[in-house]
């Protein structure tokens, strides 16, 4: 069935990419617009408000968020190393890197959980102010993306042995595509972090 569809693994001779890679880039383009709308909202509400809290007033935990930034960037390195390891045929090392990526992602979520629960504990909710509405919506949606990444990477890791034996190149492509998505999640955070925590 699916074996009759060309370019699922090998790149198209003219465009130079296989189908999944083009697909994931198109998906990321749509994600840019999704987060673009949220950033646009942020700018519009901030420009239109007569008082928008600076980072000293919001009570957000900057050191914790800095740690989270570092964790997420680290996970971007591990995932690109996983892809690289597969490229040079070191499957065992690649599995370790994928596992490290999942670990980083989970660390990020745990830290996020502490941040959120602290906020709820001191009585800060999305309805508290427009700043917190933006904060919870944007980080929440970003968190869902991290969660999605964790699920996909876990699935890839769990089925990796079989895939690597049967379709090594396809497996490498999957890691690459999931990696592209993961870098994008990282990239969103790179903009979220200063926007919400440092300005």
């Amino acid at each position: 069935m699916s074996d009759v569809i060309p370019y699922t693994v090998e790149p198209h001779p003219v465009t130079g990419v296989p189908n999944p890679k083009l697909g994931i880039w198109l998906f990321l383009a749509s994600e840019v617009m999704l987060f673009g709308a949220l950033f646009s909202t942020y700018v519009l509400l901030r420009v239109g408000s007569d008082h928008w809290p600076r980072h000293t007033e919001t009570g957000l935990n900057v050191p914790l968020a800095t740690v989270n930034t570092i964790v997420l960037i680290l996970s971007s390195v591990t995932v690109v190393m996983a892809w690289y390891s597969l490229k040079i045929g070191e499957f065992g090392r690649a599995k370790l890197f994928v596992a490290a990526t999942i670990a980083c992602a989970c660390t990020f979520m745990v830290i996020k959980y502490f941040e959120y629960s602290h906020k709820f504990h001191v009585g800060t909710f999305p309805s508290t102010s427009n700043f917190y509405a933006v904060y919870f919506t944007m980080t929440g949606l970003h968190g869902l993306h991290v969660l999605g990444g964790i699920i996909v990477f876990s699935y890839l890791l769990a089925t990796s042995n079989q895939w690597w034996q049967q379709h090594p190149e396809q497996f490498t492509n999957r890691i690459e595509c999931t990696g592209l998505y993961w870098h994008f999640v990282d990239l969103v955070w790179i903009f979220l972090f200063p926007s919400l925590y440092l300005l």
């Binding site: 083009l22 509400l45 040079i88 990696g179």
Partner: protein, 131 residues
């Protein structure tokens, strides 16, 4: 480099990758710390936004260019992303531009003043031009 790697260049060429990834990682760490440190000096808001955005854009470009291999990608992907970037700009600029253009209409936290504003929205848009 990425497109080449698939064909023939083999491990030698790929080894270069690791060095690049590590250097990019170090640069990202440095920029992260830098942007946090800058924020502790409480620059005026305009400067703070400019610096934070500049650093974030640099970091974002590093991730996109080296981790996502955009530095050596194929044309079809550049076209897609180019279109996406243009429309992203439209989405970021135009709504906020309308917000700036209708100064005086928005978001006072004073209940009594704005009660009438939205009822007379159409008039106020013109009116505010003269202020």
């Amino acid at each position: 480099m990425h497109a080449h790697a698939r064909t023939a260049h083999g491990h030698e060429d790929l080894k270069k990758h690791v060095r690049i990834y590590i250097s990019v990682f170090v640069a990202l760490m440095f920029l992260t710390v830098l942007t946090v440190v800058v924020s502790y000096f409480h620059p005026p808001i305009a400067w703070a936004v400019a610096i934070a955005l500049l650093i974030a854009c640099t970091k974002g470009s590093l991730v996109a260019l080296y981790f996502m291999h955009l530095i050596s990608e194929v044309k079809v992907i550049y076209w897609t992303l180019g279109l996406c970037v243009v429309l992203f700009g439209v989405l970021m600029l135009l709504p906020t531009a309308t917000e700036g253009n209708q100064s005086g209409v928005v978001h006072h936290n004073d209940r009594t003043v704005v009660g009438a504003v939205h009822a007379a929205h159409g008039d106020l848009g013109e009116h505010s031009e003269t202020h």
